[in-house]
């Protein structure tokens, strides 16, 4: 356990000296918090139409999202659910950046060999590196989401915010599915980083894990899908299964000899 802590401390000391990593860990969450809050602020200041109730085609487009809301509220709730989905990019992108720089960085400085000569187990090293990428990602996501939550409550009023923006499904998405996704993207980032020599390439390749989220986002904004509670459950289960499978593969392939002789 102590060795895992040493590795985590080392990763953070090293990786957070990198501007690109800092950018991804600080700027991305910041942006994703400010953007929806600014939108809410804008929409509540310039209401589109005050009292009109939701039209028939809108009901078709939004599904059960807007039942019992005014049109204005409906648009706002809809927009915010898009932003919440956008939030899911954080738990996926942040660990990818950290893991990519941490692993490709070690390869570039050839620091893996002396490290692997110490009596650390392969699993301890892997855990240290994985945790070092997972924890900041989850914390940054949660922190950003909490700021967003508080801001939305202040501007929207607690009741509306609680009912629609922070519906149990979204809370589940952020607090449970998010960490599961983080785990998945770390596994992928470690596997990809083992095979490339440029951290930016590693980052971009592993970053492809955000693609499904982007697809959902696009799907929802053009009206193909509405991310519902059931869909979030489904995504959670799929990600969990992938976590187990990829986690297993990562642990199996994370061995001294493989690392030294096959990582290029």
């Amino acid at each position: 356990m102590k060795k895992i802590r040493t590795i985590i401390g080392k990763e953070w000391a090293e990786v957070f000296k990198n501007r690109l990593v800092l950018f991804s860990v600080i700027f991305l969450p910041l942006m994703l918090t400010i953007l929806p809050l600014a939108t809410i602020w804008g929409m509540s200041r310039f209401p589109a139409s005050t009292e009109a109730s939701v039209s028939a085609e809108e009901i078709e487009f939004f599904g059960d999202l807007c039942v019992g809301l005014t049109e204005n509220e409906c648009v706002m709730v809809y927009t915010l659910s898009l932003y919440t989905l956008l939030f899911m990019i954080l738990p996926v992108m942040i660990p990818v950046t950290i893991a990519a720089y941490s692993i490709v960085g070690e390869k570039a400085t050839r620091s893996l060999e002396p490290l692997l000569a110490t009596p650390i187990t392969d699993l301890e090293l892997l855990s240290g590196k994985a945790i070092a990428a997972i924890v900041p990602a989850i914390l940054a996501t949660w922190l950003a989401y909490m700021v967003y939550a508080v801001g939305a409550m202040i501007m929207l009023g607690t009741e509306l915010a609680l009912a629609y923006v922070f519906a149990p499904a979204w809370v589940l998405a952020i607090f449970v599915v998010g960490p599961l996704m983080t785990f998945l993207s770390v596994s992928i980032a470690i596997m990809v980083s083992a095979r490339v020599t440029d951290p930016r390439v590693a980052e971009q390749l592993s970053g492809l894990v955000v693609l499904p989220i982007i697809l959902l986002l696009v799907g929802q904004s053009v009206g193909w899908v509405v991310v519902s509670r059931d869909m979030i459950y489904l995504i959670g289960v799929i990600v969990l299964i992938l976590d187990v499978v990829l986690g297993f593969i990562t642990i199996k392939s994370f061995q001294r000899e493989t690392i030294l002789t096959q990582w290029k």
């Binding site: 102590k2 080392k10 060999e113 000569a117 000899e257």
Partner: protein, 302 residues
Amino acid sequence: MIDTENLSKQFGSHTAVDRLTLHIGEGEVFGFLGPNGAGKTTTVRMLTCLIGPTQGRATVMGYEVGKDSQSIRRHVGLLTETPGMYDRLSALKNLTIYAELYEVPDVPGQVEKYLRLLGLWERRQDAAGTFSKGMKQKLAIARALLHEPKILFLDEPTAGLDPEAAKLVRDFILEVKAQGRTIFLTTHNLDEADRLCDRVAVFNQRLRVIDTPQGLRQEMYGRQVVFHLADTAVPYQPTLQNLPYINRLEAIDNKLVVALDDPETHNPELIRLLVSAGANIQFVGELRHSLEDIYLRLVNDD
């Protein structure tokens, strides 16, 4: 301390190390010489439990490679071919990380001890990336010693260092040897091997020879005495031609090179014979072959 038996490593169809059998005793400085790609680093990696042998076995301090790998890692130090420092972190931080990973009891004390010993204490807060090659190498040596290993593996410790830094490192190796530690040293610097090592092995995929540097000289060339004459040496060759104890005789310019087993006994007679034949002897000396001659002869045989 280190014993191997038919230790082999194959990468795909390529054999990097072929049935290496070695026995290295406690406190010995053992030089492992060989050309680029000979399999030196591969051997070191097997003995430090970084990669597994494909055949044969090895024990280090009685622990079996592959079975008690963690015990071996705890007791050996490794200086890798490249220092592999965390360039963004300070020297102090670099060593602290390793001291923790090696479970050193007194981390700050041990780190300070070795930073001071290698003259890096003043620069401890500087990022390792700002260090010169020589300083990085010293830092890497400190790192390899933090846990006071009984056996130290040094993979080309002086490669790429300027003469002064290289001498510093060599002197340090001698200090480490004086503490009774066993040292396994790979190098391309034959002069260095000659000066530092109790025994050397010439290795190129297979073990070619293994002996003390002095023993190797004798084995390969026997002992040779050179007589420097004032004029050309050819006329005096017949004088010594038929002596039974001379193994080989050669006249080159103004030098007579005589190979014989026991120069201490026979040199006086040789000198007398040459003088009475009218030779003007300027110097008499023993011809020492450098380890380089031996090495080149062996490696060129391959």
